[in-house]
Subunit: 182 residues, 2 copies
C-alpha cells in the first residue's frame, strides 16, 4: 500500500516497528522540558531537544509555552492552567492515532474533531478536603469524525487509537515521577 | 500576612479554601479543550472556556497549540509531540506550587528553574512489543531554586508542591478517561 490517504507515512512507521523489534535500545526515548518561574503562579516552559534512536535529536524549532492561573484564582491569566495542558496532549495524541490507524486501514478522513472535558474538584489542590484528589475526577473525550467509512469502522479507529495512545496510557495508568532539588 | 513576596495572592487562595469548604458545588470545575486534525499526525488544540464557581468562565484569551511528530517519525514536526505536553503541564504545575507555598511561608524566591526528563520506550506505541507500555516509563524532575531559605526549607517547598499538585496527581495516579464517537 503506497497510497497516502491522510498524509501519514504508515510504511515508515511499520518499517520502524520491524527495525526496533531487533534494536530495543534505539527505541529508548527521553523527552525533555525546561521551565522557569516568572511571577506569581506563572511560568514558561521550553521544549526543543530530546534523545532517541541512540542519539541527541532536536525539533526543528524551539517551542515556548506560558502557564498561569485565571483571574478567578487571583492570578494573571497569562496562559492556560497546567492541568489544561494534559487535555492538549490527550486530544492531539488520540487524533494522531486516529489518523495513523485510518491510514493503515485505507480509510480517507475528511475531518476529525474532538471536544474534551476534564472534571476537577478544586477542593483537593486548595487543601479544603483531604478526601478529594488533586487531579481530574475523570475526563470525557467526544470525537466527531467525517470519513469514508461506516460508523462501526470509525468507532474501531477510535478504539485502536486509544489502545496505542501514549497520553491515554499516561493518564489512565500510574507513572513514577521523581522530583528532586539539585 | 499582607506582604506579597512572590506575587501570589495567598490570602485570596486561603479565603477560597474556606469558602469552598462550605460550598463544594462551587469547587466543581470542568476544563475544556477542542481539537481539529490538520494533516498527517498534526492537530490543533484550542482552549478558552471552562466552567467553575457555578458558572461559565473564560480565559482572557484563546490559546491555540500545535502538536505533531518529528521528522524521524516520518512526520512534519510542526509542533511538539502530544506526550511532551504532559511535561509542560507537570513543570508549570509544580512551579506554581513552589511559588504558592513559598508565598504562604514568607520565603522570597529569586529563581525557580526545572528540567524534566520523560523516559519513553516507543516500542509500545509502535506495537513492536506488547509488554511495553505506551506511556512514559518514568519521569524525573530536577529543580534548581534560588531563594532566601535554607536547603531544607527549599526541599520542603518542593515536597509540599508535589503534595498539592493537580498534574503530579494526574500522572502518578490513574484517571478514568472515556472516549466516545458522537
Amino acid at each position: 500500500m503506497t497510497t497516502v490517504v491522510n498524509g501519514v507515512n504508515v510504511e515508515a512507521l511499520l518499517g520502524a516497528r520491524e527495525v526496533l523489534k531487533g534494536a530495543p535500545e534505539a527505541a529508548q526515548f527521553t523527552w525533555r522540558a525546561s521551565s522557569a518561574w516568572r511571577h506569581g503562579v506563572e511560568s514558561t516552559v521550553t521544549i526543543q531537544n530530546y534523545f532517541g534512536l541512540g542519539q541527541e535529536q532536536s525539533h526543528k524549532e524551539e517551542s515556548v509555552f506560558e502557564a498561569d492561573h485565571p483571574e478567578i484564582f487571583a492570578a494573571t491569566d497569562h496562559g492556560i492552567t497546567p492541568i489544561e495542558y494534559l487535555l492538549v496532549g490527550l486530544a492531539s495524541c488520540l487524533t494522531a492515532g486516529v489518523a495513523s490507524v485510518a491510514e493503515n486501514r485505507g480509510i480517507k478522513l475528511h475531518s476529525v474533531e474532538a471536544t474534551l472535558e476534564g472534571h476537577h474538584d478544586i477542593r483537593g489542590i486548595l487543601g479544603a478536603d483531604s478526601d478529594v484528589r488533586n487531579g481530574f475526577n475523570d475526563i470525557k473525550v467526544t470525537f466527531s469524525i467525517d470519513a469514508d467509512a461506516s460508523k462501526e469502522d470509525i468507532e474501531a479507529l477510535v478504539a485502536q487509537s486509544q489502545k496505542r495512545s501514549a497520553v491515554f496510557d499516561a493518564l489512565t495508568n500510574p507513572t513514577n515521577v521523581t522530583v528532586e532539588v539539585a
